[in-house]
Symmetry: C2
Subunit: 387 residues, 2 copies
Amino acid sequence: MENFVFQNPTKIIFGEGTHLKVGEEVKRYGDRILLHYGGGSIKQSGLYDQVVKALHTAGVDLIELGGVKPNPRLSLINEGIELCRKHNIRFILAVGGGSVIDSAKGIAVGVPYTGDVWDFYLQKEEIKKALPIGAVLTIPAAGSETSPASVVTMEEGGWKRDIGTDLVRPQFAILNPELTYTLPPAQTGYGVADIMAHTMERYFTRTKNVDLTDRLCESVLRTLIKNAPLVLQEPTNYAARAEIMWAGTVAHNDLLGTGRIGDWGSHMIEHEISGIYDVPHGAGLAVVIPAWMKYVYHEDVSVFAQFAVRVWDVEPDFESPEKTALAGIERLKVFFCSLGLPVTLRELQVGEDRLEEMAEKCTQRGPVGNFKRLNKQDVLEIYKLAR
Amino acid sequence: MENFVFQNPTKIIFGEGTHLKVGEEVKRYGDRILLHYGGGSIKQSGLYDQVVKALHTAGVDLIELGGVKPNPRLSLINEGIELCRKHNIRFILAVGGGSVIDSAKGIAVGVPYTGDVWDFYLQKEEIKKALPIGAVLTIPAAGSETSPASVVTMEEGGWKRDIGTDLVRPQFAILNPELTYTLPPAQTGYGVADIMAHTMERYFTRTKNVDLTDRLCESVLRTLIKNAPLVLQEPTNYAARAEIMWAGTVAHNDLLGTGRIGDWGSHMIEHEISGIYDVPHGAGLAVVIPAWMKYVYHEDVSVFAQFAVRVWDVEPDFESPEKTALAGIERLKVFFCSLGLPVTLRELQVGEDRLEEMAEKCTQRGPVGNFKRLNKQDVLEIYKLAR
């Protein structure tokens, strides 16, 4: 096990009806906030009206900025920064999924900074201050509701880059599984793929003696394997929606990565796909991860064999741990298919013409991933395996 | 799943050599602290000298109060309160196990309170303020390093009572598994029993649809079942010590109880034993828990059958879930025995003469436990099963 520091102070308010408490939570931070959200879905579902009413009842004034898209854009973040400065806003409430929260985080670090907020995403500048933010989560997927990360796309050139700082962890996150009843099946599937990816990026490590966290990761994966099919059959199954929602947070609040060196190569490889083709992140991950696994598993077959046996109930074949490992990868791929997820680049309508460019951009700052360090040629091979 | 609020902001600093960072951590909170510890073990091991040196190097002055005993006493807490007031101390550093940290928490709530600190333990008064505390953990067991709880014994009458408030969660906890190398085998066993107890008190619930947290609990239990025998064979096995230490914190940082109504009856039943007979808490738990299980399992056999199959690899007997459940309880008892733990009151030299009095005191504030609400007669039956 590696030495580590772990601290995650975000207050989680979980359960039925909890979004109605948003007014009293926000009120602790200020009387005038930016309400940040995405497209029309929160207006259609009535959530927008309920949140606005709860804020007004608590005596909180709000300035609005909607329009966050999946793969959130730098241009909207810049607009949010200007709005906050103009109205002297000291708190941001994100109502939505990971994209909305990530966008709010971008605004939060941009407001107190005199330069261009993109400097942070280019890792040119260190983040020293941020406005506090809170979240009402509507899509369990990104884990952004307690994470220190924000991933943003600059439209020109399709650059997708991230920041990570404890300063942007939300002060609170309201998680009401009922708010996820109206998620379309495809988006439910993308979310599950994203949660599984966050878990697997931590699980596949070269760090030895990580017994407890191995098992915690397996717990999250088995919970998703059981409950994802249930919500696709019955979208208003509260119990199953609740399991997925809480798993989404636990997968990405850093506990599962304590003492381990995570991989994160698949995320970097996927970012180049969604950066250019604007496909959902979860769909991209479902395509990349099985290909990544096939490319790297022989670096440490035992980890993949354990994954197959403990997560997928594959019978261990001690004469050929390799066969055991490959059976686990195959079951993951079949599971993704069963959720209606794409598992090839073709299904994403990603052609072969830009694979080289993507591999180049992906490794621009050096090799990616830790289970196996991947250079440009490795990344290109993984894209090819994913065709 | 029940609605819940979860927040645990304690900063964990985990790993080899981390206790040497104590000076810089403490320095954030003040220049003048109370250093609170137990008996001579931290002086013998050299830890005391290292901590004092680290504090001095960071420019922190200290007032000392050693002498905390297992089942920490109210009288020492009162002494600590006076010391802190006299020297105008604003931060307490606990170096030791759960007893030292619990004692520090008692002092922390007592200093700003004008009345008798025991009022809080009697639940006569609400806790509104506390000094901040930090911990250097030497015994993985109580989970007090991130918990909101403190359990204290008033010597006269052998009353053991507890408080619970977020105000006493440590600001930071330094966890260095190397510091546990010198723990005697018995104390290692008591610690493991305590950690398992914290997990099982949460696991055995009547709340349905708690899939993820069931599995997280099972992860902690399986980790202990694997690693406890290893450290008894090889006390300086870093990897196994690290697993146990991190499991001890995860078991009691509230995550495992999210959305579930825990039981906690066994803890209440045990407190009466260690309150009167001053036996180690972990030893008392190893005696009480199997007896409690045998008394209550038929209230919901399925939970106990799941425990047997998933935690102890008992073959499921679908014709008799009851047999499966009982086999799991038996394996737990055998496991406790294998760690050198007592599993009967006789081994603790607890006679039958005071069982009735203990049952009376245990239920003085009403029935205990949630899996089955236990009145005085129930508690007495459990003591008798534990003979």
